[in-house]
């Protein structure tokens, strides 16, 4: 499925190429320079630090275990892997020669100082909505980081996607200009200032839609379906709108708890959402509240009882696969997840978890396979991975059981295929016989 999408994308991209190349590909380089007087005041830097956390700059621009903001982290996209650049103020390999004007152009238009188009993995389509003052604060923050000399890693993209002028065509199609600086969400007179603040953060800086809005075959967010659910790093990014399958409604309070650390009703973040929640540790509670206020409103005020609430159904033992799944659950999961929430970072039951209501089993399988790694030097959930303990067949039995017991929806149709895809290294059904000890 993914491959087909890429093929369509490639064809589309090629079609665009002619138009894009001729019309809009060329952008001038901007003169080198650095921060001007008064552009890196402590006040600006301080505000920039909070904004950088809320833009999750470090989570993309820092490679695992490497120096902050020095780039090098790969972002897997359906088109190939894109490596984040060094945004420290190193003159040779980072932003050391960027003026505020160059930085602003990159943030708003996705063009680097030399005039090259940037891939939309860098969410300038969102950052375009930032106020001038906030861009200036981010600039002040970035330009006062420790400079690190580290050349950017080349992207791993196939031809012709590695030909940047194509991006001009992409932008023509998908970037709606001009943006109104300050907000990309319409002002709503019925909403308070906290909501508006949240709207601004979510739409522009925190670029929530980059993951939670579906993308088309060319990798652009489908504006007609904002927050209808998307994808990030191979994970399902749940919808944040009325179509959310969450068993319990996401109240503002619950979201604020979730975004700050963990919510006892819904659980906590895993996968690519973890670094987002981690970044919130250094953000004032008011900003988190604002984000929560806005996102809670996206879910819509459905009538009470429109959600089924947590489900915990008796699962018959007549189906041998489900019976096997029940046994695995009892020995592997129940100690923590049947503690009624007594073990830290567990919900009252797994019926509270949106993951089991997802349209496909990817997130569940990724968590089962790899677990949830301990946070570094901070409290946070720890779950061991079961990728080595369970065979593919056992993983399937367990996933099917969890779905049958904790979700009112039917079995996942693509469970087998997804398991084969995600558990290639795990012993398959045939691997049992004769495996050495």
């Amino acid at each position: 499925m993914r491959r087909r999408r890429i093929a369509v994308g490639l064809a589309g991209a090629l079609l665009l190429a002619g138009a894009g190349f001729g019309l809009a590909s060329w952008r001038p380089a901007l003169a080198p320079g650095g921060p001007g007087p008064g552009e890196t005041t402590p006040e600006r830097v301080g505000r920039g630090a909070v904004l950088a956390s809320l833009g999750y700059c470090a989570s993309c621009h820092t490679a695992q275990g490497d120096r902050p903001y020095a780039g090098g982290r790969g972002l897997a996209t359906p088109f190939g892997t894109i490596y984040a650049t060094n945004i420290t103020p190193d003159p040779e390999t980072g932003l050391g020669r960027w003026t505020l004007a160059a930085f602003t152009r990159a943030m708003r238009e996705g063009v680097d100082r030399e005039g090259r188009h940037l891939y939309p993995a860098f969410p300038y389509t969102h950052y375009a909505g930032l106020t001038e003052a906030d861009i200036a604060a981010l600039y002040a923050f970035v330009m006062t980081r420790e400079p690190v000399r580290q050349a950017a890693r080349p992207n791993a993209l196939p031809f012709p996607l590695n030909w940047r002028p194509l991006l001009a065509g992409w932008k023509l199609l998908f970037v709606r200009e001009p943006r109104i600086p300050g907000t990309t969400a319409p002002a709503d007179p019925r909403r308070d200032s906290e909501w508006h603040r949240g709207a601004y953060l979510a739409e522009a800086l925190s670029h929530c839609g980059a993951c939670h809005t579906p993308r088309n075959s060319l990798g652009a967010e489908v504006k007609a379906k904002p927050y209808a659910g998307g994808e990030a790093d191979g994970w399902w990014a749940p919808p944040l709108d009325r179509s959310s399958p969450a068993p319990l409604a996401w109240s503002e309070d619950a979201l604020a708890r979730y975004l700050a650390e963990w919510d006892p009703q819904h659980g906590g973040a895993a996968g690519p959402m973890r670094p987002v929640v981690d970044a919130h540790r250094t953000v004032p509670a008011g900003e988190i509240r604002a984000l929560a206020a806005y996102t809670a409103s996206l879910y819509g005020a459905g009538p009470a009882g429109s959600r089924t609430g947590p489900v915990d159904r008796a699962v018959g033992t007549d189906d041998p696969a489900l019976a096997r799944g029940a046994t695995i659950y009892a020995g592997a999961c129940a100690t923590c997840h049947e503690s009624g929430g007594g073990v830290p970072y567990t919900t009252a039951s797994l019926g509270h978890r949106t993951t089991l209501r997802a349209p496909d089993p990817r997130n569940l399988l990724l968590v089962l396979r790899d677990g949830v790694a301990p946070r570094e030097h901070a409290a946070g959930p720890i779950m061991p991975g079961f990728g080595a303990a369970l065979t593919q067949g056992q993983m399937r039995d367990l996933a099917a059981y969890l779905r049958a017991r904790f979700s009112p929806d039917g079995p996942w149709p693509d469970l087998d295929a997804t398991i084969r895809d995600l558990m290639r290294d795990s012993p398959g059904p045939g691997a049992r016989a004769g495996a050495g000890g």
């Binding site: 920039g48 830290p344 946070g380």
Partner: protein, 729 residues
């Protein structure tokens, strides 16, 4: 099959009965634990088969003491270490040496064993001399026999009957000349490690006695909560469950198999209804709360009183520490058996004799009817849940006479109910004279007790929960010179005028007790941080500043060794910093100087210990690897405490209930290199080293952070968010 069984334990014990009681006041003159047990056969037994058994009232806690004690005895008796048998703390067999704590094992027990072994050697030589008609001085004692110059030999076994079993260790026993040592001072491989890496170790958790039943406890959800009701019928009726036991708020389930006990515990917890609980200050109120509690002040040092206050620059600082945890990797466990008359308990607690007293009091039994036997457990680092588990096993054994009961805590129970290392506050002030030296010194430490161990029955957690509860005894301060909260509160530095006060807080919101090094961790952190602050104010290098205030040549020697090996003063990369600290543990045990390099990540406030050089003088070295491992382990553990660890709590009680809520150091956090340099002092007394690294590590890290990032951290732990807040954006 190496697991302990009741049979092997009892048979092992039956070989040896009865030890001497202290005799006469003369014993006071004897070194180490001989004061309490002056008879030779309290420490060394020689069987008619020639087998030699060494007895110690101390326990192996992972510090390698078994190996070291065997080395000491083998050296004096001229035996192969492997030929000796060692019996550790057992109320029926070994001398009463109180707790295995305070880095006392070598000082107390090894000293006693060395002297007793030397005395035994003299007895053997004398007995052989009588038989051979030779002067004892001409005989050689080695290889399990006494040999005359002409080659005639008599084995130990043959001589055993002729030995006076109750002879006392004489005042002046002839010890082997350190220059002739062949076993002491050598890195003999630890005797217990092969079993530990191959699954053969017998921890108390591994005891499988015939007929043994498994117990699990159901604790209240928070400290102070009372059991309102519990419907036990369904749980008692589960397959494999023997019974549910309730006495007041003490609730437990007994089952034939362990996993049945585990699942029954879960079921029982779900039907137990609890109410209430003791309040705890909110985390933000922790320090104001501690500062506001009433305290009893003792001036433990008042030097230069009456001399006029000197002129100079006055500098002051305050330091604070949050609650921290022992966090043993293996939750506490104990096995107990009551035969209707006598109670036997196998436990990994640190004091078998005090535990016996507490158990006897709780159960209303004469002490003579209670036997406590130490069996290794997971490292404890002080008073953890071990005594409580022994208390629980004893209560349940009495309820089920005739069957050994194994009580095993869960991870969450160990985290929530162990007594923590106390939150503390210190204040330091000093006057820097015109000569750049400290002219006046003021220091106060505010701390609760660091000792709530048995012997009182009320120190056992469950004893307080019984229908007829034993109340917790009122907390007491430990007196100087060892001290508790004020341990190491008196600096070793030359101070012409100084006042040091201990503000003892009797009343604490969370249960606290001994955690490795007690108050020394915080006092050394404070004093050694403050010393750097003073050196900075004086514009002097911190190592030179310390040396300028020290006369003790052994103190100077470790400081010079650590700074020299580290390469003190060599410039480091940007973002890195070097830090130094020194202490003599309790001012009377081992000396330790520590130089560390840290890297501070300004963006996140993360601190990484990159390398460390420690120099240690623990007196005569028995086993260099034993000391090295204690220092290495101490540095890594104290690094974890100091950079990451605080017991989280809210107004309801602790919320650090497992490793996800109490993060500790992991492999990526430990340094690239850690070097320990030992300064051996053959012939001088053993100085305990097990706790000496804790305080210096905390201070050296703080001092290195100061150099690396330009910020001074005065609170433990120095978590990334604290470091980041100090650095700013």
């Amino acid at each position: 099959m190496t697991a302990l069984t009741r049979r092997t334990l009892l048979v092992g014990g039956a070989l040896l009965v009865g030890i001497g009681l202290p005799r006469g006041a003369r014993a006071d003159a004897l070194p180490g634990s001989l004061k309490e047990a002056p008879r030779i056969d309290a420490w060394i037994r020689i069987g008619e088969d020639g087998a030699v058994t060494v007895l110690t009232g101390k326990a192996e806690l992972g510090q390698g003491i078994k190996t070291a004690l065997i080395q000491v005895a083998a050296e004096e008796l001229g035996l192969e270490p492997a030929s000796l048998r060692l019996v550790t703390a057992d109320t029926e067999l070994t001398p009463d040496e109180g707790y295995t704590a305070g880095s006392h094992s070598m000082q107390d027990s090894a000293t006693a064993i060395r002297h007793a072994a030397a005395a035994a050697r003299a007895l053997l030589a004398a007995a052989a001399g009588r038989r051979l008609g030779a002067a004892p001085e001409t005989l050689t004692v080695s290889g399990g026999a006494v040999t005359a110059p002409d080659g005639r030999r008599i084995g130990f076994g043959e001589l055993a009957a002729a030995l006076e079993p109750d002879a006392a260790v004489p005042d002046a026993v002839q010890l082997r000349d350190p220059a002739d040592h062949t076993i002491v001072g050598r890195p003999l491989p630890r005797v217990d490690i092969p079993a530990k890496v191959a699954g053969g170790a017998a921890y108390v958790q591994d005891i499988r006695a015939p007929g043994m039943v498994h117990a699990r406890i159901v604790r209240p959800p928070r400290p102070g909560a009372r059991l309102v009701s519990v419907e036990t019928g369904a749980v008692a009726g589960r397959p494999g469950v023997i019974r549910v036991h309730r006495d007041g708020d003490f609730l437990a389930v007994l089952a034939e198999r362990e996993y049945a006990a585990v699942t029954a515990m879960g079921a029982l917890a779900r039907v137990a209804v609890w109410q209430g609980g003791s309040p705890v200050p909110e985390p933000d109120d922790l320090f104001p709360d501690l500062a506001g509690r009433s305290a009893q002040r003792t001036l433990i040092l008042d030097r230069g009183a009456g001399t006029p206050a000197p002129a100079g620059r006055r500098i002051a600082a305050r330091y604070r520490r949050r609650y921290q945890m022992h966090g043993s990797i293996g939750p506490s466990c104990a096995v107990a058996e009551f035969d209707g008359d006598r109670l036997t308990v196998w436990s990994h607690a640190q004091g078998m004799f005090p535990l016996r007293k507490a158990l006897a009091e709780m159960l209303g039994l004469p002490e003579a009817q209670v036997r406590c036997i130490h069996v290794e457990g997971s490292g404890c680092y002080g008073h953890n849940g071990a005594d409580d588990a022994a208390g629980d096993a004893a209560l349940l054994a009495r309820a089920l006479p005739g069957r050994p009961v194994r009580a095993q805590y869960t991870r969450e129970q160990e985290h929530l109910w162990e007594p923590y290392g106390a939150a503390m506050l210190t204040e330091a002030a000093a006057v820097l004279g015109a000569d750049g030296r400290i002219a006046d010194w003021d220091y106060a430490v505010r701390s609760p007790t660091h000792l709530t161990r048995p012997p009182g029955a009320g120190q056992l957690l469950s004893a307080r929960m019984l229908d007829k509860p034993f109340p917790a005894p009122p907390p007491k301060a430990l007196p100087q010179p060892e001290g508790g909260g004020d341990r190491n509160a008196i600096p070793l530095y030359r101070l012409p005028r100084a006042r040091v006060a201990h503000d003892f807080v009797a009343d604490m919101p969370l249960r606290v007790s001994a955690l490795r090094s007690l108050g020394a961790y915080m006092n050394v952190f404070s004093i050694e941080s403050f010393l750097d602050e003073l050196a900075e104010a004086a514009g002097t290098d911190p190592v030179a500043f310390r040396l300028a205030h020290l006369d003790d040549p052994r103190a100077r020697a470790v400081i010079e060794a650590a700074s020299g090996r580290f390469g003190w003063g060599t410039p480091l990369a940007k973002g890195s910093g070097a830090g130094f600290a020194f202490a003599r543990y309790k001012n009377l045990a081992a000396y330790c100087a520590l130089a560390v390099e840290v890297a501070v990540e300004r963006e996140s406030g993360r601190v990484r210990l990159v390398r460390a050089h420690a120099a240690v003088d623990a007196g005569e070295v028995v086993n260099p690897h034993g000391i090295r491992d204690q220092i290495e382990g101490g540095i890594i553990q104290a690094m974890s405490w100091s950079l990451f660890e605080a017991v989280a709590h809210d107004a309801e009680g602790p919320t650090s209930r497992d490793w996800s809520t109490y993060p500790i150091a992991r492999f990526p956090d430990v340094p690239d290199r850690l070097d320990v340099h030992l300064i051996d002092r053959p012939g001088s007394p053993f100085l305990g080293a097990g706790e000496v690294a804790q305080g210096p590590t905390a201070a050296a890290l703080a001092n290195a952070i100061r150099q690396a990032a330009g910020v001074r951290l005065r609170e433990l732990p120095m978590r990334p968010e604290l470091v980041k807040a100090a650095i700013g954006v």
